[in-house]
């Protein structure tokens, strides 16, 4: 007979209790992007729906933006920082690999000895983090989990690449997941498609900068070493995002037992307005569903985009606490994750 192991005593019903966001103070209009590329405001708006984005200044580090967003999320959840049992941070633009940024945030936020770690799931990172948080709360390994999506994608933007220079933005979004009396989070429908790893990717791996590591070092026109940037195959990403991700979104609704008519809010990853519009059409969402279109003034902030959009919808009264929302993240990997949640 094996020894009896006590299972965890968590909450059967995890819920997003609070949300917070941080947008860098500097707003970058398309006119500024056009200094480096041969394009036009009209072209950028028609291809992406993006008019402005926020780019972080030197003081607005990944850590600082995370702390700002986390502080708001914790206050909005109505808990004390020391009640946080785990901190999960999703980012692809924190350039010190170890230790994780999550341990620093747990410490500086006053979360005591909370478990803390970073994850890498690009633009699906927030919903991946949410999925982990849900499991921890159900399992009882943590009462409250802080999930942060944070990016400084301006650091990974090739300002001379006319197909991506205008896309990316910086910012942080955070939520606290904790116990609830009623069901408030559906199952996650998630996965990866590693056969499409080249579709969205960092141009050069960090060790590519070692002399002799690659045949040719990444050099710009001026002969200087060129910092890595994010590149993507636009048409392939568009087709996958619109048509494959619509299927995943529909599966998440079905898994949660929610019909499109029951849905109040749709918060897709804010990659591109054209993707959002086309997804809404493909999903045949009813007119009454509020759709997050934060990308217009925020750009694509990868892991931060969903909580930032969620926070804005609630702050502007377009959505309200208790609304049923479908969230879906998708991006480099390729990876994706969708779930249905009750808004905090």
């Amino acid at each position: 007979m094996p020894s009896k192991i006590e299972p965890g005593k968590g909450s059967a019903y995890p819920r997003i209790l609070g949300v917070g966001g941080y947008r860098p103070t500097r707003v970058v209009p398309n006119e500024e992007i056009l200094k480096h590329i041969d394009s036009s405001d009209e072209w950028i708006r028609s291809r992406s729906g993006i008019a402005t984005r926020h780019w972080a200044g030197p003081e607005e580090t990944v850590a600082q933006m995370s702390l700002e967003a986390a502080g708001k999320a914790v206050a909005s959840a109505g808990i004390a920082p020391e009640q946080i049992g785990a901190v999960v941070i999703s980012t692809v633009s924190h350039f010190k690999q170890t230790p994780s940024i999550a341990t620093e945030i747990a410490h500086r936020l006053g979360a005591g000895k909370a478990a803390a770690f970073d994850i890498s799931a690009a633009c699906a990172g927030f919903v991946y983090g949410l999925t982990i948080a849900k499991g921890l709360v159900v399992d009882g390994s943590a009462d409250h989990v802080l999930v942060i999506g944070v990016e400084r994608l301006s650091d990974l933007t090739d300002v001379t690449d006319r197909s991506t220079a205008f896309l990316f933005g910086d910012g942080a979004g955070a939520v606290v997941v904790g116990p609830s009396d009623v069901p408030a989070m559906g199952p996650s429908v998630w996965g990866s498609e590693g056969d499409k790893a080249d579709v969205i990717t960092q141009t050069v791996p960090w060790d590519g900068f070692r002399v002799g590591a690659v045949a040719e070092l990444p050099l710009g026109e001026d002969g200087e070493l060129k910092f890595p940037a994010i590149r993507q195959e636009g048409q392939t990403v568009f087709r996958w995002a619109v048509f494959e991700m619509a299927k995943v979104a529909a599966q998440a609704l079905e898994a949660a037992g929610i019909s499109p008519g029951d849905l109040d809010v749709f918060i897709p990853h804010q990659a591109n307005m054209r993707i959002i519009d086309s997804m809404v059409k493909t999903l045949k969402l009813p007119e009454h569903v509020t759709v997050a279109r934060d990308v217009e003034t925020t750009g694509n902030t990868s892991a931060a985009s969903i909580p930032l959009a969620m926070e804005r919808l609630l702050a502007t009264g377009q959505a309200k606490s208790g609304d049923t929302a479908l969230v879906i993240g998708f991006g480099a990997g390729l990876v994706y994750a969708a779930t249905v949640v009750t808004l905090p």
């Binding site: 291809r47 048409q235 392939t236 087709r239 048509f243 086309s278």
Partner: protein, 82 residues
């Protein structure tokens, strides 16, 4: 039953009308999707996916960039339809 050249042209015209709002009679063989019909690279993906469903054909991304004119698309579908 496989669609004829005329049926494919007619179907494409309806798709382009639906996606880009171009009158169906303006969708002619020699017209360029981007230059004449206001179908940009992203709308082209929508046109392609709609055409795949309608004509039971697979049009991989690598082939999409070769479809410059309506005639290119008609010929491709004629050749590859299931």
């Amino acid at each position: 039953m496989a669609a004829t050249q005329e049926e494919i042209l007619e179907g494409l015209a309806e798709i382009v009308n639906e996606i880009a709002g171009i009158p169906t009679e303006d969708v002619e063989r020699e017209k360029s999707f981007t230059d004449d019909l206001d179908v940009d690279s992203l709308s082209m993906v929508e046109v392609v996916v709609a055409a795949e469903e309608r004509f039971d054909v697979k049009i991989p991304d690598d082939d999409v960039k070769n479809l410059k004119t309506v005639g290119d698309a008609v010929d491709y579908i004629l050749k590859h339809q299931g």
